[in-house]
Amino acid sequence: MLQAQNLTVEIGGKIICRDLSFEVRSGECWGVLGQNGAGKTTLLRTLAGLHSPHSGSVYCDGQLLADYARRELAQRLGVLLQHEGGEFWGSVRDYVLLGRFPYRSGLFGYSAQDEEIARQTLAEMELADLAQRPFNTLSGGECQRVAIAQLLAQQSRCCLLDEPLQHLDLRHQAQVVRLFMQQREQGRALVMVLHDMLWAQRCCDRVLLMFPDGTVRHGAAQNLLTRTSLEALYQCSLRELDAGGEHYLVPGV
């Protein structure tokens, strides 16, 4: 579904990955992990076609990203940005409806189907009560939930999620993860930048670890999410906890 081929990515003179190749398949959930500044966001932006790689290529459904018209790409590839860098002046409903922008066919606004999808997504995210609120009056957590609702309304088959759980309380983290797991079961591919080891262990089939020395390793989550590799990744000591039959890694503070 999404394929990186011999990707070398550079930002501000720093190479964040060299000759990286991997493929995200339908129904897979990938976690991208690394320290602050390791280049996770830049890698995600490269996969989204927002940052040009130094060399190598990214393919979506077998076609180069650059060969897609933006609208067509947006129907296949959804992106949750970490920082949106703008100001939206309309209501929450208007904001979620923008997720249907790639599907607009006529000149006269959104179709009844688009409106219904936006309404359903707001309901799924328990945001129906906020539908008429101006977007710029929301709290950080509410903004994040509304941005996720917009991404879900986009209904793309592959989603790139940059810190999807930022600003969310525990209840809403669980709600969002549950919704993403439903998406995965429906055959969507997910690539998430995560900092919380708990969610990485619970959700991801595969992980991509970006080490401080610029090396990148990827593979099955159960093979790579080990104490040794994560201590090398974060350069800090970790403790292992066993609870409820599951095995967790937490910072050894």
Binding site: R71, L77, E84, W89, F101
Partner: protein, 321 residues
């Protein structure tokens, strides 16, 4: 206030401003007289005053106000900057240099208009060429190029004013302050206003997307580069058309979109139409006051747009917590 109610109020305001503009002047007229004169009935002088003088003037004032307000909406979305106004990209500076140069050389009205149009066109192409056409489309470089070019044009305007004969200076100052004494080209201005207004309303979700951030717009399927270029040239066309009609009238383009936002409407599908309606009505009232308050002396309308607009906007800012 709901958007539907607000648009009804704005339409009502437009009709009242139109009536105010048609009724006021050296020859005050009652609504009945205006109606008869519009149908070509009644006193010949009244018919001539209404049909030859006042109708073109109020239509020019409305079109000019609508053009400037609409240009403000588009530029604020393009530059994602609430302080953007139609003159920020140096278009008015180029037009002013062109117009004043023609006046200095003793050119007539038509030649002055051509010259100001040429100056504006040069400024538009220079800002786009220097600010936008070097691979990556950097909005800050575009903005800075416009500001720098405006400063350069400001210096040239001062030079031209210093070189002008005493009797030429008044005409130049009126042009610079904004004035609507010769509303030629009203038909073209209305065509531009309606065409760009309609297009901006139909594509308003694209404007919402652009205002929400360039990366966001791109990942939701907007061809950002093409949209930026289209918005830039649409705003430039609106500004040049308004400049040809009324010279450099300040305040309308910057403040009308803000006034609508302060009334609680932000989505572009409403903002475009409402700003144009408010800008048009506002300039009709300002122009009517400019030509009647010190009659027979006619003052530059640009003075009144600021004198009327500043207190209203400050009041709106004060009541919005």
């Amino acid at each position: 206030m709901s958007a539907r109610l607000l648009i009804i109020l704005l339409l009502l305001l437009a009709v009242l401003s139109l009536g105010f503009g048609l009724a006021s002047g050296a020859l005050p007229l009652a609504p009945g007289e205006i109606g008869r004169a519009l149908l070509g009935q009644g006193d010949a002088t009244t018919v001539e005053v209404v049909r030859q003088l006042r109708v073109p003037r109020v239509l020019a004032a409305f079109a000019c106000g609508g053009l400037l307000a609409l240009a403000g909406v588009l530029l604020q979305a393009l530059l994602r900057n609430p302080l953007a106004d139609p003159y920020i990209l140096g278009v008015s500076g180029g037009a002013a240099v062109g117009a004043l140069l023609a006046m200095l050389l003793g050119a007539g009205l038509v030649a002055t208009q051509f010259s100001s149009f040429g100056g504006a066109l040069l400024a538009i192409l220079a800002v786009f060429g220097l600010g936008f056409c070097r691979g990556e489309r950097n909005i800050y470089r575009l903005l800075l190029t416009g500001v720098v070019l405006s400063a350069g044009c400001g210096a040239l305007v001062s030079l031209l004013l210093a070189l002008a004969q005493y009797e030429q200076v008044k005409g130049m100052l009126f042009w610079l302050m904004g004035d609507l004494p010769h509303p030629e080209g009203v038909g073209f201005a209305w065509v531009v206003l309606l065409a760009v207004g309609l297009a901006a309303t139909l594509y308003s979700s694209g404007l919402d997307l652009l205002a929400g951030g360039l990366d966001k717009a791109a990942v939701l399927g907007l061809a950002v580069g093409r949209w930026q270029a289209a918005l830039y040239f649409a705003a430039a066309l609106l500004t040049v058309t308004a400049l040809q009609l009324g010279g450099s009238i300040g305040f309308v383009g910057l403040m009308m979109p803000h006034a609508i936002r302060l009334l609680g409407v932000s989505a572009h599908r409403w903002l475009v139409v409402m700003s144009a309606l408010l800008g048009g009505s506002f300039l009709m009232v300002a122009d009517t006051l400019a030509r009647t308050l010190w009659s027979p002396l006619q003052l530059p309308v640009g003075i009144f747009t600021a004198l009327l607009g500043v207190p209203v906007l400050l009041w709106l800012l004060g009541r919005r917590r």
